[in-house]
Amino acid sequence: MADERRPKQCSLVLPTESMKVMAESVGVGQLQEECCVALSEEVSYRIKEIAQDALKFMHHGKRRKLTTNDIDHALKLKNVEPLYGFQSQEFIPFRFASGGGRELHFYEEKEVDLSDIINTPLPRVPLDVSLKAHWLSIEGVQPAIPENPPPVSKEQQKVESTEPLKAVKPGQEEEGPVQGKGQGVTSAESKGKEKSISRLKPRSTHELSVEQQLYYKEITEACVGSCEAKRAEALQSIATDPGLYQMLPRFSTFISEGVRVNVVQNNLALLIYLMRMVKALMDNPTLYLEKYLHELIPAVVTCIVSKQLCLRPDMDNHWALRDFAARLMAQICKTFSTTNNNIQSRITKTFTKSLLDDKTQWTTRYGSIAGLAELGPDVIKTLILPRLSIEGARIKAVVEGPVISNIDKIGADHVQSLLLKHCASVIAKTRPLPDNVDQYRADYGYLGSMLCSHVVKARAQAALQAQQVNRTTLTITQPRPTLTLSQGVSTGSGPRTPNIIKVPSSLTLPVQTLVSTRPVTPAQPSPPATKYIVMSTSTAAATSPQVISLTSSRSSSPITSTAPSSTSTLQPLVKVEHTGQSVTTPGAGGSRTLQKYIVVSLPSAVSSEVKASSLSSPSTAVDSTVKADRTELPGASTHSSH
C-alpha cells in the first residue's frame, strides 16, 4: 500500500522495512507484510501528530529550530513518557557518507582515550545570561554601531553591484544607497528606495560624517604608521567592523594610490602594510568588494609582478610580499570570479604573458609563477608544467653560467624553489610511477633531477595521508560560551572534545572502514583540500562573529606574512594551522604529524609559535575564541615537511 503513495510530501509514510527492522530489534521476528503496512501507517500518523504538537512548543519557545525538548513536551501532552537521553541542544550531528550507490547517515562515535579526558582541563563554566542595552534607533535613525547590523547587508551590496539596471561604467565609482545623513536608513528613504527599485538609482553625494572621517583618518594612519600594535588594532577593526561600507571607496582608493606611489619609491614595508589592508577588507564579512576590484586588483597584481619592490633587491625579502599578494589574488579570484567578469582568466592571461616573455626579469617571473601557482593545481598543470624545461634552462644559464649579477642569481634560486614546491605535488598526482630520474630529466630538463626527488617525497607523504583517515568533517558549534579545543595527534588518542566539536581525528581504525567512501589510495593520492573552521562565540557575543568568521582560503602553508596578521588581532585568538602529515616509516605504523599552532593571546600582543611534532599530543588551546583552520594540501605537506 505504501507503494501506491505518490511521492507527495505530506503523505509520506515510513517504509515497511523500517518496521521490520524495529520489530527485530525488540525481538519480534517474521513480521507479516500486512502488519508492517498497518504499523507503518499508524506510526507515521502518530509521528506527524507529535511533530505538529512539537511545532507549537517551538513557536512558543520563539525559535526557528525544533529541538528534542519540543518533542519531549509534545509527548508529554499525549501522556507519553518522553524519550530520555536526547538532550542535544542543537541538531544531532549525523555524518553523511555515500558510496557504492548507497547513502548512509551515521552518528559519529569515536574511541576516546580516558587519560585524554582526564588530562584535558575543564571547560570554562558557561557564562550567565546578561543584559546589554544599545540604541537600535535614535529618533528614527539607526546608528551604525557594532551592535546593529550593517546598514547595507552584504547581499544587498552584491545585488547592487550586479544589478544590470544599475551597472555603472567601469572606473566610475558606484555609490552607496541613498542615505541622507550618511548613516542609517531613515524611514522615508527606505520607502523611497523601495519605490525607486525599478528605475535607475539617482546619483548621490557620498558624505562621511565627522566621526567617520575621524575614523578613516585614524585607521589609515595606523595602518601605514610605525606602531605595530596600533596597526594590529586598525586591521582588526577593518576586518570586523560592520559599518565600513560607506568608507569602502575611500579605502580602496587609498590602497590603490598607496601602491602606485610606493612601488615607485620601492617602499617595501608600506606595500606590505597595504596588502594587509586588502586582506583585512577581504576578511570583513559585511563587505562586498566587487565594486572596488578595479582598484584593488591592479594594486595587488603590482605587488606580485613588479620588477622592483624594494630598495635593495638582494637583501630585502620582497619574495614574501609577492607570495602573500599572490595568495590574496587567488582569494579574490575565488571569491569574485564569475562568468561575467572573468577575473580569473584575465589574471591568468596577464601572468602567462609575462611568463612567456623572454625579457622578463627574475622578480616578475617569480611573481607570475607564484600568482599562477596559487590559482590551483589545474593551472599549474596546464600553464607551468609545459614551461618547466624552458624555465629550467633559463635557471641553468644563470646558475652555471658566468656570474652576471648577484641579483639574478638570487632571483633564479627563488624561482627554482618556487617551481619545485608547486610542481612536485602536481606531478606526484598526475604522473604515473615509477619516478625515474633520467626520465624526469628528459621531460623537464635541468630541473628534472631535483623535481624527481621532490616528487618522491610528495608521494611518500601522500601515501601516508592515504593511510590516515581523511575526513571532511565540519561540525559547527552553536552558541556555547566556551569551547575547548584539544587536538590529540598521536595514534589512538582521538581528540576529546566536549561533545560539540568533532575534530577529524587520528587513526582510529574501526571508523576508517566507514569513512573510506572517498577512496584515497597511495597510487592516486588526491585528498581534496579539506578545511575546517571551528568557531565559537566569545563573551562579547555581539561582536565576535566578525572576529572569527574569517575564512581563509587555501592558504597552504603558514607563511611569515600571515603570522603577523594573526598576531594583530585584539581578540584573544588561537589559530591552529594544521599543515598536514609528513613522513611515515613503513612498518613502524606510527605517523608523524607536523602541527603548527600559532597561539596568540593579546592584549599583550605576544605571539608565540609552538611547533609541536610527532607522537605526543601536545597542546590544548583554550580560549574564548578559537579558530582552527586546517588545510590539507599535498603541496603544503611537502613544503612543510621540510
Partner: protein, 764 residues
C-alpha cells in the same frame, strides 16, 4: 496557599484521575474496554454516545468514585471520609466500584493517552483542579466544586458532543466513486456563474472539500479518499495549508477519533457569509442537479450566514476568512462592548502640575497603567462608552499607588509627542548568552525592571536602573530592626544580598509568559508545567502556584489595575483569576485551539485572547460571555495590543501580518503587511500615535496608527453587512523598519516618556 507546596507529585496523580474520568467521554481503544461505563465497542457507529447511555447521574457518581479511589490510594483518609459523607456513598458500593475503577485506571494509563486530550476543553471544566492539591482543606468544598463543574460540563456538552456522535454524522454516504464528480460538478458550476457571485460561492470549496474527504475516510474508502485529496487539495486557498497538512495525514477511520483538528471541524459548524442572491443561485443549482450529497453536507456541517445586499468581492472575503471555523457569525459581534476608559480617581497633584496643563492641553488621563492611555478622552466626564465604574470591582488605591500615579503624571509631562515626523528612539535590551532559550519578557510600567522567562524553567528579574534588587530580610533579622524608626521601610531591606538580577526557581518546564503587576510588587509567570505562579518582588519567592490548566499555559497577563489576571493555554480555556483565590473566577471556553496570547482591556472589563484557531475573541469579565470574534488571520495569533483609548485592538500572527480591529463595531479596519515572520510583540505608544511591532524576522517596525484609524473613521461603515474595504497599501503606514543583529524581537514597551524599549535574545 496549600496548593503551592505539593506540586509535582500531585500533578501526575491528577492526570491519572483525569484519564480515568475521560475515558468514558472520549471512547477508547479496545484495551481500555474495562472502562467505567460499560460502553459498546467504539468502532461501531453508535448513534448515541455511551456516556449519555450511562446517564448523567451515574456519570457523576462514577467520577466521584474515581476521586475517592484516588484519595484512598494516596492515604488521604480524612478526605475520603468527608467526601463520602458529603456524597452519601456507602462503603461497600465504593469498594465494588473501586475494583472496576482500578482496572480501568490501568488500561487508561496505558492507552487512554491520546484520546484524553481530545475532550480537553470540556473535560477541563471537570478536572477539579484543587481536589488533589489541597486534601487537607475541607473536602466538602471540593464536592461542591465538583458538582458545579459537572453541571457546567453538561451544558457544554451541547457544544462539544461526544466523539462518536460527531463522527457518526459521517456515516451516511453516497457512492464513494462519485465524490470527485460531485466536487468537480460544483466547481464547474461556480466557475460558470457571474463574476460577482463566484468569489462568494468559492468559499464553499474548502469546507465541502474537508467534509467530503472526512466522509470518505470515515467510511473506509481509503483509496478514494486519497485520490480525492490529491486531486483537489491543490485548489484550496493557501492559508488552509496547515489544516490540510493535518488532514493529509489522516487516512484511517481510527485516526479520526484522536484528532483534535478534525473534532474542531465537526463540532463547530463552518460559518460562511454569503449574500442572498448567491445563496439562491447555489440552492437552485443543487436542486436542479438533485445533488443531495453536497446539499446534505451544507445542511449539516455548514452554517451559512445570509445577508441582503451586494455580494462581496474576492479581496473582501479573503481578508476575513482563514480561521479554523470560517468567519464569525454576525450575531457574535452584535453585543455592546463598553470600550471606554474608566474615570480616573482624582488625586491631589503637587504644585508643579501647572506647567503640565500648559503642555498637554488634552489632559492626560491619570491612569496607573498608562500604556493603556487615552488619546481621545477629551474631558474628564464619563465616557458614554465606558462601563460603570464599579462594573468590575477593582482594588482600592493604596497610598503607594497614588504616589506612583503622581510620578506617572510628572513623567507624562516630559513625554515626547510622537508622529510620522518624530519617531521614537528605540533602546534594545539584548539578552546575551541566553542559550537556554529566552521565551518571554516583560517590563514594568515605569521601565525599572525587566523579567525574562527561560526555557530552563527559570524566571530572571533584572533591574535596569542603578537601583539594585533588594529582598526583605529574613524573619529573624526583621525582629532585630527598630520598627518605630522613620526609615523602617528601608531597614527591612537586605542590602547585603542586593544585586542587579535575581533568579526565581520554581517552575518545572519552560516559562512561556511573564507579567509584572502594576504596583511592581508581584510577578506572574506561566509555564509548560501547567501552573501559573505568583512571585513576590519583595522577597523574591513564590507566593502561589495557581493550578487549573493541566496543560502548558502559553500566556498570562495582569490586569491594568492589578488583582486580576488572565491565563490561557493548550487546554483552550482562558481563566480569569484573582490573586487571592486559588481557583479561577471565570473560565472562557470557546476557542477551538490553543490560546496563545492574552491581553486585558485598559478598562479591565474585558480580556482579549488570541488562539491557534486563528481567531481573536473578546470576553466580558462580568458574565464570561464572548462578545467579539475576530477572524481574518491566517496563522496562530501570537500578540495582541489594545490602543490606549480602548477603542482598537491590534493582533499579530505567525503569517507576519498585523490586523487592526475596531472593538465597538466589531470590524477589521486595517492590515499591516511587512513582517516576514511571526509577530511576537505589539505595543501602542503612550498616546496611541504609533504602533510598534516586533517580530521573529529580527525587525522592529513602526506604523502610523493615527493614519490607519483615521482612514477608517472617515469612511462610513457599512456596518449592516460588515463589509470592509481595506486600504490597499499598508506600506504608507510603515514609518520605519529597524533590523537587529540576529535578535528576534519578543517584547516591546513604551516608557512613560515614549521611549521604545525592545528586548530579545541574541541568537547567532
Amino acid at each position: 496557599m496549600a496548593a503551592v507546596q505539593d506540586a509535582p507529585v500531585e500533578a501526575d496523580n491528577e492526570k491519572e484521575i483525569k484519564t480515568e474520568t475521560l475515558n468514558d467521554a472520549a471512547g477508547n481503544h479496545a484495551s481500555a474496554a474495562g472502562g467505567v461505563i460499560p460502553s459498546p465497542p467504539v468502532a461501531s457507529t453508535s448513534s448515541s454516545g455511551p456516556a449519555k447511555a450511562g446517564g448523567p447521574g451515574s456519570e457523576e457518581q462514577q467520577t466521584l468514585m474515581a476521586v475517592l479511589q484516588f484519595l484512598k490510594k494516596n492515604n488521604f483518609v480524612g478526605a475520603v471520609d468527608v467526601l463520602r459523607r458529603e456524597a452519601g456513598i456507602l462503603e461497600d458500593s465504593d469498594e465494588s466500584q473501586g475494583q472496576e475503577l482500578a482496572a480501568s485506571a490501568l488500561g487508561g494509563a496505558e492507552a487512554g493517552d491520546a484520546t484524553c486530550t481530545l475532550s480537553r476543553a470540556s473535560s477541563c471544566t471537570t478536572s477539579t483542579p484543587a481536589v488533589a492539591a489541597a486534601p487537607a482543606k475541607g473536602a466538602g468544598e471540593h464536592c461542591s466544586t465538583l458538582s458545579a463543574a459537572f453541571g457546567k460540563r453538561k451544558e457544554s456538552g451541547e457544544d462539544q458532543p461526544d466523539v462518536n456522535v460527531v463522527l457518526s454524522a459521517y456515516s451516511q454516504q453516497g457512492d464513494p466513486a462519485l465524490y470527485q464528480g460531485y466536487y468537480s460538478g460544483l466547481k464547474k458550476f461556480v466557475e460558470s456563474v457571474l463574476d460577482c457571485h463566484r468569489a462568494e460561492l468559492s468559499q464553499l470549496f474548502y469546507p465541502l472539500f474537508v467534509h467530503m474527504y472526512l466522509e470518505l475516510v470515515y467510511n473506509n474508502h481509503e483509496t478514494e479518499a486519497k485520490a480525492f485529496f490529491e486531486k483537489f487539495s491543490g485548489d484550496q486557498e493557501c492559508y488552509y495549508q496547515d489544516d490540510l497538512r493535518v488532514l493529509s495525514g489522516l487516512t484511517k477511520k481510527e485516526h479520526m477519533k484522536g484528532n483534535e483538528t478534525l473534532l474542531d471541524f465537526r463540532t463547530s459548524k463552518f460559518v460562511l457569509r454569503i449574500s442572498r442572491d448567491s445563496y439562491q443561485l447555489l440552492k437552485r443549482h443543487l436542486q436542479e442537479r438533485q445533488n443531495n450529497q453536497i446539499w446534505n453536507i451544507i445542511q449539516e456541517h455548514l452554517y451559512i450566514d445570509i445577508f441582503d445586499g451586494m455580494p462581496r468581492s474576492k479581496s473582501q472575503i479573503d481578508s476575513m476568512s482563514g480561521s479554523l471555523a470560517g468567519e464569525a457569525k454576525r450575531e457574535a459581534n452584535k453585543a455592546k462592548v463598553f470600550y471606554g476608559l474608566l474615570k480616573e480617581p482624582e488625586i491631589d497633584v503637587p504644585l508643579d502640575d501647572e506647567d503640565e496643563e500648559g503642555e498637554n492641553e488634552e489632559g492626560k488621563p491619570k491612569k496607573k497603567k498608562p500604556k493603556k492611555d487615552s488619546m481621545g478622552s477629551k474631558s474628564k466626564k464619563q465616557d458614554p462608552n465606558a462601563p460603570q465604574q464599579n462594573r468590575i470591582p477593582l482594588p482600592e488605591l493604596k497610598d503607594s499607588d497614588k504616589l506612583d500615579k503622581i510620578m506617572y503624571m510628572k513623567e507624562a509631562t516630559k513625554r515626547i509627542r510622537l508622529g510620522p515626523e518624530s519617531l521614537p528612539s528605540i533602546c534594545f535590551y539584548t539578552f546575551l548568552n541566553a542559550y537556554q532559550g529566552l521565551t518571554a519578557v516583560d517590563f514594568t510600567d515605569d521601565s525599572s525592571l525587566i523579567a525574562g522567562g527561560f526555557a530552563d524553567s527559570t524566571v530572571r528579574v533584572w533591574s535596569v536602573t542603578p537601583k539594585k534588587l533588594r529582598s526583605v530580610k529574613s524573619a529573624a533579622d526583621l525582629n532585630l530592626i527598630d520598627k518605630e524608626s522613620d526609615d523602617v521601610l528601608e531597614r527591612i531591606m537586605d542590602e547585603k544580598s542586593a544585586s542587579e538580577s535575581k533568579i526565581l526557581y520554581g517552575h518545572s518546564g519552560p516559562v512561556y509568559g511573564v507579567s509584572f503587576s502594576p504596583d511592581r510588587n508581584y510577578l506572574l509567570s506561566c509555564s509548560e508545567d501547567g501552573t501559573v505562579r505568583l512571585w513576590s518582588l519583595q522577597t523574591f519567592t513564590c507566593l502561589v502556584g495557581y493550578k487549573g490548566h493541566n496543560y502548558p499555559v502559553w500566556d498570562t497577563q495582569f490586569s491594568p489595575y492589578g488583582y486580576y489576571f488572565i491565563s490561557g493555554g493548550h487546554d483552550r480555556v482562558a481563566r480569569l483569576w484573582a490573586t487571592d483565590h486559588y481557583q479561577p473566577l471565570r473560565m472562557f471556553a470557546g476557542h477551538l485551539a490553543d490560546i496563545t496570547c492574552t491581553q486585558f482591556h485598559p478598562n479591565s472589563n474585558y480580556v482579549a485572547t488570541g488562539s491557534a484557531d486563528r481567531t481573536v475573541r473578546l470576553w466580558d469579565i462580568l458574565n464570561g460571555n464572548c462578545v467579539r470574534i475576530f477572524t481574518g488571520h491566517k496563522g496562530p495569533i501570537h500578540s495582541l495590543a489594545f490602543s490606549p483609548n480602548g477603542k482598537y485592538l491590534a493582533s499579530g500572527a505567525t503569517d507576519g501580518r498585523v490586523l487592526l480591529w475596531d472593538i465597538g463595531h466589531g470590524l477589521m479596519i486595517g492590515e499591516l503587511k511587512g513582517h516576514t515572520d511571526t509577530v511576537y510583540s505589539l505595543k501602542f505608544s503612550r498616546d496611541g500615535e504609533i504602533l510598534a511591532s516586533g517580530s521573529m524576522d529580527n525587525t522592529v517596525r513602526l506604523w502610523d496608527s493615527i493614519k490607519a484609524f483615521d482612514d477608517i473613521e472617515t469612511d462610513d461603515f457599512t456596518a449592516a453587512t460588515g463589509h470592509i474595504h481595506l486600504p490597499e497599501n499598508s506600506q504608507e503606514l510603515l514609518l520605519g523598519t529597524y533590523m537587529t543583529k540576529s535578535t528576534p524581537v519578543i517584547h516591546l514597551h513604551f516608557t512613560r516618556r515614549n521611549l521604545l524599549l525592545a528586548a530579545g535574545a541574541y541568537n547567532p
